[in-house]
Amino acid sequence: MGNRNYSVVDVDAHFFEPLHDFAHYLDEPWKSRFSGATRGRFIPGSTGDRWVGGRIMRNVTSYPQNDMAPEEIPAVMKHVGLDKIILLPNKMLSFGKLSSDEIAVPLANGYVDYMLDKVVNPSEGIYTYVVAPFQDTEESVALIDRVADEKGIVGLCLVTAGPEPPLGDRRYDLIYEACQDRKLPVVFHAGGSSVDNFFIRGYRKFLETHTLGFLWNNMAQIVSLVVQGVPEKYPGIDIIFQESGIFWVPLMMHRLDAEYMKRRSEAPLLTKKPSKYMQEFYYGTQPLESPENEEHLEQIVNMIGGPEHLMYASDYPHWDYDRPSVITDLNFLTDDQKSMVLGKTAEKVFGI
C-alpha cells in the first residue's frame, strides 16, 4: 500500500509531457508545427512565480527544470504514497484559452494517444482523463467514442478556465450525453491563475491571483451546470469538481439556493434546490483548507454531503500539492471515512 494503513488513489495529479515527444502523436500539419515549435508557441502559458523565489522545490522529478519522463511516475507514487494515480496532462490545463478548434481538436486527440501509449499503465495503477475539446462538440463526442473503452481512461475532463458560453450551456449537451451513455464520470478541473491574464488586471502578486483564479472558474461553471439543469438532463453522470479546496462549495450552495428560491421560474427544469444537486457531486480535496479550529472543516464537509463526497487529490507536482496526511491527520473522520476519501470512493466512481 502507498500509505501504511490505507489504499490511496490520487484523482488529480499532473504529467508534464515533453512537447517534442508528444508532437509525434499529432496528425499533420500539426506534427510538423509542434515538432519545430518552442514552448508556449501554440499553448498559452501562465505567468506568476510558483516557486516563491526558489523556496519551493521538487526533488523527485526533473520538473520544474524539465518536463517529466514516464519512467519517473513510479517514484512519484512512492514519494507521495499512492497506490493509484490519475494523471492529467499539464498543458491541457491551458486548453480553455484556445479559441480555435483547429488547434484544440488535434491537440486533444494527440494528447490522449500520447498518454495511452507512453504514460498510462492500468496494471501499475496509472490512469488518465480524456480532455474534451469543448470548442467542437461533435469532435468531443467522436473522441469520447474512440477512447472511452480504453482501460486507462477513467473519465472525461472539462477544464473550467475558459469555456464560453459556460459549461451548462445546451451546446455541450451531446458531450454529457456521450458520457452518460459510456458511463464516463465528468471531472471539472479548475485552472487559470496567471498574474497578467487574470479577469481583473493589476494584481501584483501570484498569491492574490492564485487565491482567486481557480476558485472563480469553478464557481462560474458550477452555477451554469446546475441552473441549466445538466444533472436533470443527464442524471446518470457522476460529477466531480477539482482543485479549489472545499470551502467554496457551501458558499455557492447557499448563494444559489437564495437566488433560486426567488427566481425558480428561470430554472424550471430543477426539481429541488441547487444545493441538493451539489450535495450529490464529488469534490477533489486539494488544496484542502486547514483552519485552526478543525470543527470548521468538519462542518464544511458535512454541509457538502459528508466525507463520502470527497476524493483525495494531490495536484502533484504543482507547487501547492497535498500529501495524503491532509486526510489521515483529520481527527473528525473515522478510519472508514478516511479510507473512503483516500481511495474507496474514487475506486467506485472511476471503476478502478
Binding site: Y176, K233, M261, K262, P268, L269, K272
Partner: protein, 121 residues
Amino acid sequence: MNSVLVCSEKDLPNGSKKVVNFQDTPVVVLNVNDSYYAIEAVCPHQRGPLSQGAVLPKLEASFVEAGKRLDEYFSETSFTISCPWHGWEFDLSTGHHCGDSEVSLKVFNIVTESGNIYLKE
C-alpha cells in the same frame, strides 16, 4: 371555530381575491379560472404580503433533445402566487414552494353552500 364565512360567491368573481382570518391565520382566498383556492397569506421568507402577489399559471419545462432549447410552457391546471417582496412562488393547490417542496404554506379546504364560500377544517 371549525369554519368561517369568506363571502358570497358573487363577491369573489374570477380573478379576484379576499383575505380573511381563519384559526388566527391570515388566509388569502382566490378565484382563479372559476376555481377557489385558499392559502396562508404571509410569505414564510421575510413575512411579505403574499396575498398581494401575482397569480400565474405554473411555468413548467421539459428536456426534449440534446442541444435544443427546453420546451417551456404554462401549466393548464396548476397556478401559483408569488410574494411581491422577493418572488417566492407557491403552488396554490399544494402550498409548496415551486422550487422546494420542503418549504410549504398551509392550504385550506373551501366549501360552497347556498351561494356562500366557507373555509373549513
